[in-house]
Each structure stands twice: as C-alpha cells, then as structure tokens.
C-alpha cells in the first residue's frame, strides 16, 4: 500500500482506495480513476501536481488530493 503522491515516475499501479470524502470521490471517479483502475505515473515532481495516465487520458492531479489515494504498485506493464 502506498499513497499516489509517493509513487515514482514511470511506475504502474492500481487504485486500492479513494478515501472517504464523497465530493472528491465523485469528482475523481468521473474522470476515470475508480477503485481497481490501472494507471501509469508519468511524472511526479516535488511540490507539483502528479501526472497520471489512466483510461487513455493524461490527468494532472493536485498533490494534496493524491495523498488521499491509496494504491498498489503493479510490476509488469
């Protein structure tokens, strides 16, 4: 288990949990980041939003929001 904000650039993962904030869950799932969704961390620089590639879409996510997202790293592409 690892927060999305802590994942390394170039790694892959799946979403384990999205926290408990209903507003946030509604908003984040509407762009495709649902529980179980596979994604690639494209860029993760300090103090910058995290760039995630999920469901054919490159998403920029606010850093603080990424701390709410629990993930599991997947090894193979």
């Amino acid at each position: 288990m690892m927060k999305l904000s802590e994942m390394q650039k170039g790694t892959y993962g799946t979403v384990s949990s999205l926290g408990s904030d209903q507003r946030f869950i509604n908003r984040i799932t509407s762009v495709g980041l649902t529980e179980g969704a596979r994604f690639q961390v494209v860029k993760n620089d300090r103090k910058m939003p995290v760039l995630v590639y999920v469901r054919e879409t490159l998403l920029a996510l606010n850093r603080r929001d990424c701390e709410k997202i629990e993930t599991a790293e997947v090894n193979e592409k």
């Binding site: 509604n26 984040i28 509407s30 762009v31 620089d45 054919e56 879409t57 920029a60 606010n62 929001d65």
Partner: protein, 614 residues
C-alpha cells in the same frame, strides 16, 4: 417547439458546438435562483426554428454541485425533445462517463463523437456503426472546431426529432450503491460497450520532447510565462494599427464636426457633445475592444493547442495557496493583457465561488493599458532607475494584493470544505483551427463593443457634464468645484483634487487618464476639450511634465500612480464582472473593495514617501 439540449463534460467541445450551431443568436441568463449560467440559442434549418440549451458544464450527473443538480432536473423534466451527448473521441473511454450517467434517464438522445480529427491523428479507429447498434441511438463522428459537419448534424437532429431513439442499455446501478462501486460499474459498462468498437489503447504514455521542457518545475514556469508574453507581443503587433486608427478618430472628426455645427448655430453644449464626446467615446470603445480581441486571439490559440492546460499544471501549487487551483492561471495571465478578457476567461473555473474569487484576483493584475501610462507619469518625476523601482514596487504589490484578496474573500467564496484541488486532463498537443479561434475572438470582442458603447457613452456624458466649462476656464467647471470642495479629504489619502480627479477617470477608462491629467493641470482652456482628447497623441507630455512636476510633490505622484493602478480597472471590467458573476452584490463588493484598498494604499504610500521624497 424543437428543443435540443447539449450535454457533455468540460473539454468535450460542448461550447464549440453550441457557438457554431447558434452563432450570435444566443441568450445568456441565470437558472432561476442560482448563480449558474443559462445559455440558450437558436438556429433555423429548412424553415424550422430550433432552440438549443447549453447545459452547465459538469463531469457527471450525481447531484454534487448546483450545475449537476440543474442539469439532471432539466433533463428529467422532459423540456428537451432531444439530448445531444458529447464525448471526446480521442479519450473515448473516460469521456463516456457522462453517457453512463445519462443512460439511466429515459430521454431521446444522440451521441456525438467530437474531436475525431485528434483521434484520427492518434491512429485511433472507432467503429461507430457497432457503437450505435449497442447503444440503440445514432452515433455521429464529428469535429466541431473545423465547422464542416454542421449540416449533417442539423439533418440528423431533424430526423431524430421526427422518429426519436432512446438508449437501450444502462449501467446496472441500484439506488443503495456506494459511489465507489457505482462508478466502477459505470466504467465496466463502458468497457462492455466499447469492446471491439475501439482497439485497446496503448498502455504506456511517453511525454513529448516539448512537454519534457514545459513541465519542468522551474524552467517550465519560465518558458510558460515567456510564451504568454511573446503571445501578447504578437497580439499588440496585430492590434496596434487598429488602435492608432481609432486614436486618430477624435482628432480627424472633432474639428470638422465642430466647424459644421458652429456654422449652423447649434448650441455650444451640443457642439461639444458631437465633436468631442462622441468621437472620443467611440475611440475608447474601439480601444477596449481591440484589447479584448487581441487577448482572446492569443489565449484562444494557446487553449486550442493544449498549452493552457500545461500552464495550469505549472501553477496549481501556487494558486492553491490562494484558495484557487491551477485552472485560474489562464484568466490571471489574460488579465496581464486586459482585465475584461481575464474576467470573461474565468468561465473555465469549476464552480461559481472559484470563478468569482478568480475574477477578484484578476482585478489585482494591472493590464497592458496601465503599463503604458505608469512609465510616462513616473518619467515626469523620477529618473530612469526610479521608474524601474516604481514598476518593481507595483509588481511586488500585485502579489501582496492577490494574497490579501484571497484572505479576505477566499473563505466566503470557496469554503474550506468545498475546496477541490485540480483534476484536469492534459490533452495531447494538437493543431489549432484558426478560423474558429478568429470567429470566437470576434464574437467576444463585438459583444464587448456593443456593451461598451452603451455604458461608456452614459458615463462619458456624466463626466463631460462635470468637466464642461462655459467660460472655457477650468475654474468654472463643476469638476473643479466638487474637486476642491472634497480636497481636504482626498489630501489625507495623498491626492490633491487634480490627481484625485484623474484617479476617478482611471476607474472609468485607463485611456482617459493622461487626458484628464492634461486637462486639470494645464487648466487654461476648456477642460472637456482636453480631457476627452485622451490619446497620448493629443497630450503634449513634455509640457504636461513641466506643469505637473511644478504643481504636485513627488510623493503625491507616487501615491497617485499606485492608487490608479490598483483601483477599479475600468468600467467595462466592472460590467464584465457583473455579466459573468450574475451577482450584483459581489460586483459591488469587488468594486468597493478595490476603491477602498486603492485609497488606503495611496495614503500609506504618500505618508511613507513624504519624508524621503518630499
């Protein structure tokens, strides 16, 4: 009545379709009791009239915001005879989410696969026939921005109104389902629908070379700001011929009209109205419209190619400290060119509160028009290095003012618990559709021009009445009488009656500042005459410089420059803020705050500078 509603996530190109369908036949108002914008339009096809409703932009229909509640209620209410659901064909899986939410509603619909040009470029193939068969509604591959497929769309709409289709499938969601499992099911449904319709997407994303530079934490910001400034430079080059022609208008028209009317013995008051007031009002309006056009041209282009989304990524961290988010960067950068453009650029914000707060922050950014005045005025009192310091001081104060605004109004407009961070798609870079960008910029600029003519004429008339002097001497004008009467008060804030009058005109139009200074300082001839001869061309800055530096102190000049820069940007910025916010209360509050803050600033600057500068 044939009523069509457009439904789609932000970035699905919904407003492009709406604008291209309806052209300038649009009506913008409010949904009853809400601050959410209601956009209606119409078009005619084969002698029949169609009404188009642009539903508020939202990501889904789960009732999470005013926008979503309104949209859901409207569709369920059955007011629309046909709903056109828009999706982004280049990011099909994700953008089908709106359709998944919509599917539960029993309403006739068609699906528009927008941005097919981008999808094709990416090598994506979509079997729209199979998709239509699975959904049970017509599917139309489309590229809204090139403006070509609209005949086909209108024809399809006509056909569907005669024999409508409804979706034959929907995600399996029970009313008690948790949000997380419900959205999971929605995407599983999308997966089932799209199986065999598109090939599985590539699993790895590689940033382009340009993105690798643009998204760097430090240099990316430098490049971003550099590109925006270069954009403004281009816009200035394009617009300056128009502005100089407009600037010549008062000079070219003034004299002949005056001679003509005096010749036929028209009352001097009316002569002044027609030879001074009207040509100058037209000049102000053209000048403002040029700014709006230029700024929208540049930012329309930057938006279309996908650059603004990168800028939002860059500045999300800084802006979230102001209670805003990355998307606010575009209107703020636009404000560097023109506050009117910046205020209308706040439409990209996700909620009304964020939109209003962004507008208030945009007001703090001095526009290009102020930057053309400050060096001139500063140069009259200070050496070059002093002027550089003045400009630096102004730039530093911008950040402080933004911070103050967000501290005072942030909590009210964007309460802590509703603060959502940026969640935004970064579209791949793609080619712009120049025709569409030009058309959009033109519509915005023309709309502003029409509003400006009304408002500016009215206020000009009031100002003219104040500054008209029957004897031709400044001391017989109402302006002088009122100005000197309240001078004891304005003096406290650091401004004498002359600079205070120019401070007031600055809130009306920055274009009028130099003219007013000239009128109140020179004071020999008719005030109205000089005040309205406002373009720099009509002001002898050398002569003005001499009189001004003899009449007022350097501290007063400094206080005046700061007050002028950070007061109400201009009348049309005020009018645009009202139009965009739909809130009279908040527009007044914004104006009141800025006037008050400018006076306090002026007071502080004056009293600090006094012992040093005298």
């Amino acid at each position: 009545m044939n009523c069509i509603a457009l439904l789609g996530q932000p970035n699905s190109g919904k407003s492009t379709v709406f604008n291209q369908l309806t052209g300038s036949r649009q009506h913008v108002g409010n949904w009853p009791g809400k601050t959410v914008e209601k956009k209606n339009g119409s078009y005619s096809y084969k002698d029949k009239k169609y009404t188009v409703v642009d539903l508020p932009g939202s990501y889904g229909l789960s009732g999470n915001s005013d926008e979503e509640i309104i949209t859901e209620k409207f569709i369920k209410g059955g007011e629309a005879d046909l709903v056109c659901v828009l999706v982004d064909a280049s990011q099909l899986e994700r953008s089908m989410y709106m359709l998944a939410d919509f599917a539960a509603m029993d309403v006739p619909a068609i699906l528009i696969l927008n941005m097919m040009d981008v999808a094709t470029k990416q090598g994506k193939k979509i079997n729209d026939g199979l998709l239509a068969e699975r959904l049970g509604i017509p599917v139309l591959p489309f590229t809204a921005a090139d403006g070509k497929g609209f005949e086909g769309l209108k024809e399809l709409i006509e056909k569907e109104l005669a024999s409508p289709h409804k979706l034959i499938t929907a995600p399996d969601i029970k009313s008690g389902d948790e949000v997380t499992s419900a959205s999971k099911e929605k995407f599983e449904w999308i997966g089932r629908i799209l199986e065999g319709v598109t090939e599985a997407s590539s699993k790895e994303y590689k940033l382009s070379k340009f993105d690798n530079v643009l998204l760097k934490p430090f240099w990316g910001k430098v490049v971003t700001v550099g590109i925006v400034l270069a954009g403004f430079l281009v816009a200035m080059l394009v617009m300056s011929p128009f502005m100089s022609i407009a600037g010549e208008l008062p000079k070219l028209l003034g004299k002949p009209i005056e001679n003509l009317l005096t010749g036929i013995h028209v009352h001097p008051w009316l002569v002044s109205v027609f030879s001074l007031l009207i040509p100058n009002t037209i000049y102000f309006c053209i000048s403002m419209a040029s700014f709006v056009f230029g700024v929208n041209l540049v930012f329309g282009f930057l938006e279309e190619i996908g650059f603004l989304a990168r800028a939002a990524y860059q500045f999300d961290g800084v802006l979230s400290r102001l209670g805003l988010q990355g998307k606010a960067v575009a209107p703020i950068l636009m404000g560097m060119g023109c506050t009117i453009g910046g205020a209308s650029g706040t439409r990209v914000m996700d909620s009304w509160g964020q939109k209003m707060l962004t507008m208030m922050v945009v007001w703090a950014v001095p526009c290009a028009s102020i930057w053309s005045i400050i060096p001139v005025v500063s140069g009259m009192f200070f050496p070059v290095w002093g002027t550089v310091l003045v400009c630096l001081g102004i730039v530093l104060y911008i950040f402080l003012l933004m911070f103050i605004v967000s501290k005072i109004f942030g909590r009210k407009l964007v309460p802590e618990e509703t603060r959502t961070g940026m969640i935004m798609e970064l579209p791949p870079f793609h080619k712009p559709h120049f025709k569409y960008i030009l058309k959009e910029a033109w519509i915005k600029c023309f709309d502003m021009f029409k509003r400006a003519l009304k408002t500016v004429t009215l206020v000009s008339l009031v100002f003219w009445a104040f500054s008209f002097s029957p004897s031709g001497n400044v001391e017989s004008s109402l302006l002088y009488k009122v100005g000197t009467f309240i001078e004891p008060v304005t003096k406290f804030f650091g401004m004498g009656w002359r600079t205070f009058m120019a401070f007031i005109t600055a809130a009306f139009a920055k274009e009028a500042v130099l003219g007013t200074l000239n009128a109140v300082f020179a004071g020999q001839s008719n005030v109205a005459d000089i005040a309205f001869n406002a373009s720099t061309g009509g002001v002898d800055t050398m002569a003005l410089s001499q009189i001004m530096s003899q009449t007022i102190s350097r501290s007063e000049a400094l206080a005046f420059m700061f007050a002028c820069t950070f007061s109400v940007p201009c009348l049309m910025a005020l009018s645009t803020t009202l139009k965009e916010s739909h809130s009279f209360k908040w527009t007044l509050r914004t104006a009141g705050f800025y006037i008050g803050a400018a006076l306090i600033l002026s007071c502080i600057v004056y009293h600090i500078a006094l012992p040093f500068l005298g």
